[in-house]
Symmetry: C2
Subunit: 197 residues, 2 copies
DNA sequence: TGCATTTCTTAACAAAAGGTAACGTTTTTG
DNA sequence: CAAAAACGTTACCTTTTGTTAAGAAATGCA
């Protein structure tokens, strides 16, 4: 069951069987139905998530509209802002699909650091990696047009374009659903002309 | 001399005099002239930076144009992508002003972790914090218009708008210098009307 | 100081994105 | 199963941004 998690962690360090056992014994694997809200706006939860299977989404409610800013799918993890800052969450986290997630808290982390100091190294490496990825995404956002960002997403996360509603993808790309629809049409038309020529 | 650094680190943990001494003995404080390039495109440096005084900038060279994506000023730090990924850097890091920086390498970090395990906790906390800040910046980018982003920057980093060339600020905001110029004019005009009314 | 470069602004036009609304389709759900 | 809600696309018009170009202002350097 925990294969996805241990394969992921192996990117950073090889865990002993004992260490794996400690993780499994934490009883952190949980199933959630599509639409389940994991974190409400204003809530100050302690839970962080790792996606074993499924997809979770972060969105802000702005003037009654959902503004989606992040998706996490298989082998991706997310520590909500409020877990780090201890302030009420500005955004909502919900399940886009039926999902199996690991749910961990800061205190569980702390305990595991004391039992196995290497876990802290693991967390540091993971955190540094996520920061670099996030920075690269932000950079890309600044230097690319909406169309370029969509094309880039098609290359880098083709599954996402399939499994997620278009209007959620749109705000994830920083545009309106109508704009995304136009961009898709534009690309299709250009492909058609390209094939002809 | 190291006051700025220790004030910053105190946000995360109180260091003992001995620990501070270890840091000072690393001899990590260096001065750089305005325009100095700290990291070239394609280079695979090991150095991370903390700004004691001055300002450094990250930019990509795209079609012969500089696309600025980040500024770091007093008490901000930056680990270039290449330090984490060990791959050639896709961007340049240079000094916008004469600057005093701390320059540290992964191996220096490693050594300090061994002498003082608490340093690793410090780095983990710092990294988690940076990730949350970066995520918030990215979210804000997705849900805000260029004008809203500029107004937001005026509030959150008013110094930056003063000390940095407009055309560098523009790409930092994800727009062209001409667009930024128009936005500034628009805001000025609106302020004038507001005062009249 | 004076010349060259860089920087900032403005203008005019083209391209793209936002807002509003309508319409057909799909998905939920009672 | 049928009504309701949600979703994706298209159209029209407005607003904003990109592009190209030019000129004024500031800056750097010899």
């Amino acid at each position: 069951m925990a294969t996805e998690l241990f394969t992921f962690l192996a990117r950073y360090m090889t865990l002993t069987d004992e260490e794996k056992r400690v993780i499994i014994d934490l009883d952190i694997f949980h199933s959630f139905k599509k639409g389940t809200i994991l974190l409400h706006e204003g809530e100050c939860s302690e839970a962080s998530y790792f996606v074993m299977k499924g997809c979770i989404r972060c969105y802000y409610m702005i003037d009654g509209e959902e503004k989606t800013t992040a998706f996490y799918t298989e082998s991706e993890s997310h520590s909500p802002q409020c877990v780090i800052t201890k302030e009420p969450s500005k955004y909502v986290v919900s399940c886009v699909e039926d999902s199996i997630l690991t749910v961990t808290t800061a205190s569980m982390e702390q305990e595991s650091f004391e039992k196995f100091p290497r876990f802290q190294t693991l967390c540091r490496l993971l955190s540094e990696d996520l920061l670099v990825k996030n920075q690269a995404t932000l950079d890309d956002f600044k230097i690319s047009s909406p169309e370029a960002r969509y094309l880039n997403l098609l290359r880098s996360r083709p599954d996402l374009v399939q499994r997620v509603p278009q209007h959620q993808l749109a705000s994830y790309l920083g545009i309106t659903p109508q704009s995304l629809s136009r961009i898709r049409k534009r690309i299709m038309d250009e492909e058609k002309s390209a094939v002809k020529a």
